[in-house]
């Protein structure tokens, strides 16, 4: 139905743009990871030194493992919060469904900075939470362990990514044919059995998609630790950021970025495969 000329007019500009401003930049990052810095200058000499440094220096690995621990914490917590939310809305919200759905969508898209900043004002040593605890006479002196700890980062990022986890979970619960649940109940299964044998297995694709979002987005986060984390919760992206800034070692920073990129893409690929296998359609 559409002519050749029409097809090339619609596909060429986006292809060229994406090639020039997405593919080429990612390629440049990849290339940088094989170059090096000598006497403060970037040298285009191909080598594997950056990757060797990455795997031999325990600091980088330690930070990477901490980042994965934080990401796992955020993933787990946002699933624990997102699942009941999605379940309630899909099965029990009734007429309030539409309103509640919008109440989750709004924080999904509202400014990351505004929400991160809100947590900073709450958890800080002169913050609202400390003021509240002193007001209740729970503590006499300001307690400082809320702010500047990995826990604060997990809390803040859980707040930010719970709506991201909610969306695919809710979608997968909505897609469960209701007659399967009715059948399970008619045949005498308890609500508990129905949940564990019918609903949970059928919502696994959504659960996996949500978990992937939370994990991957936390993995590359560098603003959380800067806002509420402090030195004890430096994550891998903070190292990248400092290598591109004051430390001026773009090749090493690129090598770490390439690792994050590969980790992200392989996780996405893997979970997509699993989701396809687990979905019943």
């Amino acid at each position: 139905m559409y002519s050749r000329a029409y097809k090339s007019i619609i596909s060429l500009p986006p292809l060229l743009w994406v090639g020039l401003l997405l593919l080429l930049p990612y390629g440049l990052m990849f290339a940088h990871s094989f170059w090096l810095v000598r006497d403060g200058f970037l040298v285009h000499e191909w080598n594997l030194q950056n990757y060797a440094r990455l795997f031999h220096n325990p600091v980088y690995l330690e930070v990477l493992f901490r980042t994965m621990r934080i990401a796992a914490g955020v993933t787990l917590l946002s699933l624990l919060l997102g699942y009941p939310l999605a379940y309630y809305m899909s099965f029990e919200a009734g007429v309030r469904k539409e309103l509640l759905y919008q109440l989750v969508i709004v924080p999904l898209w509202v400014s990351y900075l505004v929400r991160g900043y809100a947590w900073k004002t709450i958890l800080g040593s002169d913050g609202v939470l400390n003021g509240f605890l002193q007001y209740l006479h729970v503590t006499k002196e300001p307690v400082s362990f809320f702010l500047y700890s990995p826990f604060a980062v997990v809390l803040m990022l859980t707040h930010i990514y719970t709506p991201f986890v909610f969306l695919p979970l809710y979608a997968s619960l909505e897609h469960i044919p209701r007659n399967l649940i009715e059948a399970s109940e008619d045949l005498g299964a308890s609500p508990r059995t129905t949940f564990f044998r019918v609903i949970l297995p059928l919502s696994l694709p959504g659960l996996l998609a949500g978990a992937t979002f939370a994990f991957v987005l936390t993995l590359g986060d560098f603003l959380g630790p800067l806002l509420v984390g402090g030195p004890s919760s430096i994550m891998i992206a903070n190292i990248v950021q400092s290598l591109f800034g004051t430390a001026y070692d773009w090749p090493l920073g690129s090598a770490i970025s390439v690792c994050i990129l590969l980790l992200t893409i392989s996780l996405l690929f893997l979970t997509e495969r699993l989701e396809k296998r687990w979905s019943f359609r």
Binding site: Y2, S11, P14, L15, V128, E182, P191, V216
Partner: protein
Amino acid sequence: MVFPVSRPFRRSARNPLLGLLTLVVFAFLYLPIAVLILYSFNREGVGGFPPRHFTLDWYRQLFTDAAIWDSVLNSLLVAFAAVVLSLTLGLLAALALDRADFPGKSIFRRLVLLPLILPGIITGLSLLMFAVFAGLELSLLTVFLGHGTALISVATTELFAGLQKMDRTQEEASLDLGATPFQTFCRVTLPNLKLSLIAAGLLIFTLSMDEIAVSFFLIGRDNTLPLEIWARLRRGITPEINAVSTLIFFISVILILIWYRIRARTIGKEAQELLERP
């Protein structure tokens, strides 16, 4: 409004604990923002409990703060330009994915959507390297290129969903009756997609106004609003930041709700899986 996938349905037993848990989750999502707003009106500033004296002083201070308004202007400039760029390219990309076949199409689809799921730092840094490579000085222009490019992902998903919902017969009729493809595009395709375009534009505008992770690496001398706030945070928390954050929150909420309403009308509920996987 009715969700097409779920028909009237009652579980035998409702769990009161679940309702309570849902309430707790909503409290977790909204309490921090409520606290932020509350303290923007507190005379004693941020922290301390309870907030005692109501004041609008922080808002007054905000409205006379020239640096903030300069950065708002910069953000608006970037956001409008990013909307135009990403809608144009996103529309073409959505059309191409919908009706053209070319080698590497599935790779192209994944690549376009990648910035949506990839951490902002990766997109920001790779574009920084591109700017250096291309000899571009860091400025609002590079921030605009970053936003415009990264947000093609949002434009493409939104407009592709709109295209899928569109009635094809009108386009076929137009072409059969002798209109050129260009005329058909202008008189049939575009008017049909008008609401989808407006909705996508609103969402992209909001996202660009709020964006920080990509801009962080592409910013030159002139700050956007989120980066101006970021720079001030280094000097400490002030109630003025609460005031500006409160305004950002309410404006974002309004834009997002308009986007959502239009989207629900044009695309419908079943396409609500907003976050298509790359």
